[in-house]
Structures are given as C-alpha cells and as structure tokens.
Symmetry: C2
Subunit: 141 residues, 2 copies
DNA sequence: CTCGGTGCAAACTCTTTGCATTGAC
DNA sequence: GTCAATGCAAAGAGTTTGCACCGAG
C-alpha cells in the first residue's frame, strides 16, 4: 500500500474509513464503482459501511479531490482521484476499461465562447470491442 | 413532428409505441433519459409505459440504432440515436448539457494497436460551469 | 393464427437520508 | 466537550423481469 501523500482539507478528520477509501483510490489503476471501493476497503479494514463509502466519495468530489464519472453503456457511477489526466477505451460488450496513453485534447479549443462556459476538464472515451470480444463475436456468424 | 426516415430492422414490428419512441429520439436535440423519453412519448400518445420505453431502448441499442451514454456527475443513463456525431459540455452544477460544434477527434489516432481494440466510436465531454452557475457561484464568496 | 411487443406489477440494484452513537481534535 | 463522521436501517431513485394479454404481419 502506498503512502497517503497530498492534500488534506482543513476541518476534515482523519478517520480510518476515509484514509482507507482514499488509499483504495490512490492504488486503483482504473475508475472504480462505489461497490468496488467498498469491497477493497473491507479487504483492508473490515469496519467500513457502504453508505459511508458513498458519503466519503461525495465529500471527496465536493472537495475536488475525486471525480465522479460514468462510462458508456453502464449506469453505475465510477470514481477516481482527480488530477490524473486519463482517458479510456471501453468495451461495449464486456465493459472492460482500457487506459489510453495519449490525448487528443491537448491542442483542442472547443467552440464555446470563454464566458459561456468555464471549462474545468474533459473526458475522452473510445468505445468498441476489445480484442477478446471482437474475436468471440466475429466467430459467431 | 418529423417523418420517420431510415432503417427498420427485419422482423421488428411497427408498433405505435416503438414509432413514438423513435420519433422522440429523432426530434431530440440532446441525449435524453428514459424518463424524459417516456414523458415526451406520453405527450404524443398516452398509451406508453415506462418499462416499455426501457425495452424499446434496449432493443434500439442492440440493433445499433441508438446509443446509451451517461454524462459526468450523474448516474442516469441517456439515449440518443447513433450516427449523429455529437459532443457536449456538461455543467457539473446544474447538469445542463450544451452541444459542441467542433470535434477534436477528427485526426486523432489513439495509441492502441488496431487489433487490440476495434473502435466503433468515441465520446468527448467537457465539464465545468455554465455561465449562469459560474456567475451564481463566484458571487457567493 | 402466430409470435413479438405491451401493460402492469413486482422485484432488484444503486444511491441517499435520518438518527443515535462514536471518536478525532 | 464538541462537532464531524460513522453504523445501521429504511426509504428513494432508476432499471429490469415475469406473465398474461394484445395486435401487427
């Protein structure tokens, strides 16, 4: 387990539940659902409750430390620490999430007037079939 | 109401419910939730049921006629007809969805080997504050 | 007539909320 | 001791499923 580095907002208490959820997110290699975070947190420390995980996540999002997302073709919310500039490819068959290593947005200026929208960030998502599903499905007919 | 153009998959019956949902999607200017589609469909034809809307949407997605998405910061699934090449800016405060008129992906080749992932499409999403929310929030402190 | 689609109810999953209690500071 | 955070239960959204009936082809 990595050391909890970084920011700790003023007035926020260092409970083991929050430390635990934060550590799970720090070590995650892809965005996780609340359920997944809950499971991993339980593996580290039995005394976490799912509703507490949701509350901590809301808190983290409110503080700007985490980001709430959702990928194509699924209606479950996913969470990851913010700051990381990550983009994914999502398999619409098995819902596997694959990290992209380059970003098309570096030079992109959206056609919205500056004062019509204050851009905080962006998301890019490719969707299609991962190799395994592509094989499986094209072998089917 | 626009004419239902385009494809009708073989073996699919032209029920008024399906025609109605399809027409709602054709006339939508942004992705809609199942609830929104349900409301609009009811306005056109009283006899549609929410579960039927879900079933028709699943059907359309399965046939590749529609796409199921979800935007940042919300866990409700949204649907739109596929083929349209649309990208959005999403206000993380009021959840307003604003259409972008240009696309950064036109020349983008993601760093995934061709045979590791078969790309069907992509999504781009800016997030931040729309003008109204930005005003409101910056006036607050 | 047949079989896919629909009405309707009930179940299920994901997420939020209320309240008494706990524990960080 | 104080107040934020948690445990736990129960409610609330959003979504899916089962089954009998209906109606497009």
């Amino acid at each position: 387990m990595k050391e909890n580095s970084s920011v700790w907002p003023a007035g926020v208490r260092k409970t083991k539940q929050r430390l635990c959820v934060f550590s799970v997110l720090e070590n995650a290699k892809r965005p996780l659902s609340a359920q997944e975070i809950f499971s991993r947190a339980q593996a580290e420390d039995a005394s976490v409750w799912l509703s507490t995980v949701y509350r901590i996540l809301d808190h983290l999002v409110g503080e700007g430390l985490a980001v709430k997302t959702a990928v194509m073709d699924s209606s479950t919310a996913l969470y990851e620490l913010s700051g990381g500039h990550r983009h994914y490819a999502v398999c619409v068959n098995c819902h596997r999430v694959i990290e992209l290593t380059n970003c098309p947005m570096e030079k992109f200026v959206p056609e919205i007037a500056e004062n019509d929208f204050r851009v905080l960030g962006h998301r890019v998502e490719m969707y299609g079939y991962c190799r395994d599903c592509d094989k499986k499905l094209s072998g089917m007919h």
